[in-house]
Symmetry: C2
Subunit: 329 residues, 2 copies
């Protein structure tokens, strides 16, 4: 059914998106397809994430940060698999608030980030919706043949690691909704982390070389460890106190009375976009060196045992976590 659109599909593609196109494989966005040559000795890796206004981003969020977040959550999936992204396809479901200025803002965000992360637009579709705006992206990457890291593969005796900090995404969402009582610059740092998380792309080669299993932390640390445990047929045991906190996260934590409840919030909140992975104990030293080279925090938070599920301990005692993570759909 035709829809009249203030900006127009072709103008939107030609003026906004064509400048982002992959110079060779995107065909100037003037065709219905992208054509990517096969690359001998490699596997093509694909991932797709969708985000919806009012669900994954706030109606008040600027669209440049929305575009950046969309790209970054996909890059996070790719990095966690040890893969290196090269291009993406994009579907924009524009809402009524998305006139030319808003669409240009969206593209501004993409332009900055695709340069920063070395990817290019390959194609996609642009449509209008009478409802809230939503966007989806298919991201493509390569790994050397057979080297893509899976959720399955964790072995009993492996250690459990996580990059960066856990909980800032959830705290940032609280901050963006004015639910956080902290110093303004702490809140600003957390909100920025929520709006534009930092995918750990620089750690992808290390993950590929050393991780026995891995996942990006998007649903919540406990939930995502659960996915990895299930796929690997093992149990993950972690200590909540070892969960890494940023300076702002620590400032929030220091103001809590119930430490256990606070930790549970951080490990179930989601939107972290860190990499949780397992590796042999013998590789811990080299993993730490690789992380340090990249100025990346790396924390050992537990170990892999026989069994199933996730056991989280606080003060040495197993904790019952009712709702390990959130789902989006």
């Amino acid at each position: 059914m035709p829809a009249v659109d203030v900006a127009g599909e072709f103008e939107t593609i030609r003026r906004l998106f064509a400048p982002l196109a992959h110079p060779e494989w995107g065909r100037g966005l003037k065709d219905d397809v992208a054509v990517v040559p096969s690359k001998p000795g490699h596997d093509l890796v694909l991932t797709k994430d969708a985000i919806v206004e009012g669900v994954h981003f706030l109606p008040t969020d600027r669209l440049d940060t929305v575009a950046k977040k969309l790209l970054r959550v996909n890059l996070s999936d790719m990095a966690a698999k040890g893969a290196e992204a090269f291009g993406y396809l994009l579907a924009c479901h524009w809402s009524e608030r998305c006139g030319w200025p808003e669409r240009m803002t969206f593209v501004d965000g993409l332009r900055v980030d695709q340069k920063a992360f070395g990817v290019a637009l390959l194609g996609g579709d642009t449509v209008v919706t009478p409802g809230p705006a939503s966007f989806s992206m298919t991201l493509l990457g390569w790994t050397p043949k057979g080297r893509t890291v899976a959720r399955a593969g964790a072995r009993v005796g492996d250690l459990v690691f996580v990059t960066g900090f856990i909980g800032d995404g959830w705290l940032g969402l609280q901050g963006a909704q004015d639910k956080l009582s902290l110093e303004p610059d702490r809140i600003a740092a957390l909100v920025e982390q929520y709006r534009t998380p930092a995918p750990r792309v620089e750690f992808a080669p290390t993950i590929r070389d050393f991780a026995s299993a891995s996942i990006d932390v998007s649903d919540g640390l406990i939930a995502d460890l659960g996915h990895m445990a299930e796929a690997s047929g093992v149990r993950m045991e972690i200590d909540l106190e070892l969960t890494p906190r940023s300076a702002a996260g620590q400032a929030w934590f220091d103001g809590r009375v119930d430490e256990q409840a606070a930790l549970e919030k951080l490990v179930t909140g989601g939107d972290d976009y860190e990499i949780a992975f397992t590796a042999r104990a013998a590789d811990e030293a080299v993993l730490r060196r690789e992380a340090e080279k990249r100025h990346l925090r790396l924390s050992r938070i537990g170990r892999v045992t026989a069994g199933q599920g996730v056991v989280a301990r606080f003060a040495g005692q197993p904790v019952q976590i009712d709702r390990p993570g959130f789902t989006h759909g």
Copy 2:
């Protein structure tokens, strides 16, 4: 921002989508990515289309036909490029009307069609939206290296062809909205064509071998010929009377007083999902044989000349068409 969902993301993936997964490359939908081996001697072809409730399909449409239409419009893009599809990624933005029964209906449609068309699910995302439902798909296919047909490539002197019938999609939309006065079985045939168009996948190898340029007809025949003319740097001249009509389309046409106005409706309505292409005059006979072998109607509707744009003639006279096609966003 977390959203509570009646069906749940993981249950939706595990129970509904996992059975559709590509046995080898889809990883059982238990990972964040699909991994597709590179295929030496071939190019990877990608296309992505999105559809929105109230824009591209009707709120009253059953979701199995919506799923089929989503797959088929993508298959149509792929076929028009001479490529053969093997897999897809899917983003479902479920609305409130999409409980388990509706989601299962959606998957039923996919299951039937992915078997019919020889493709398999590689991955994707499932989210909920407070607005109307929408869906997007990234379809992947192969062509022999360097053989993907482009919109560019039409040469002066080439003939212009189109497969199947033009106008049934638009007529079917009118029928679905009770705006059509015709015999009930005619209306039913048109509505079915609108809801589940037939992508011309069987003609893809012929397109690859003989078309100098091609495009799938989704915006409207005139508009899509215009895209091809622009990309090729030529003019397309067609005779409106040569536009192929189905039996139901002809029945509607026979009831019109103003033949020219009726033809203009058919060539601008869109949603046809036929292939419009150009080829050398010397290849017309073999093209006809290839089409006949597949019981596919093939119509020569015009020729390529020097210049730009599309010239449509009625009774030998050029016709001014104000609005050559519709856009969706």
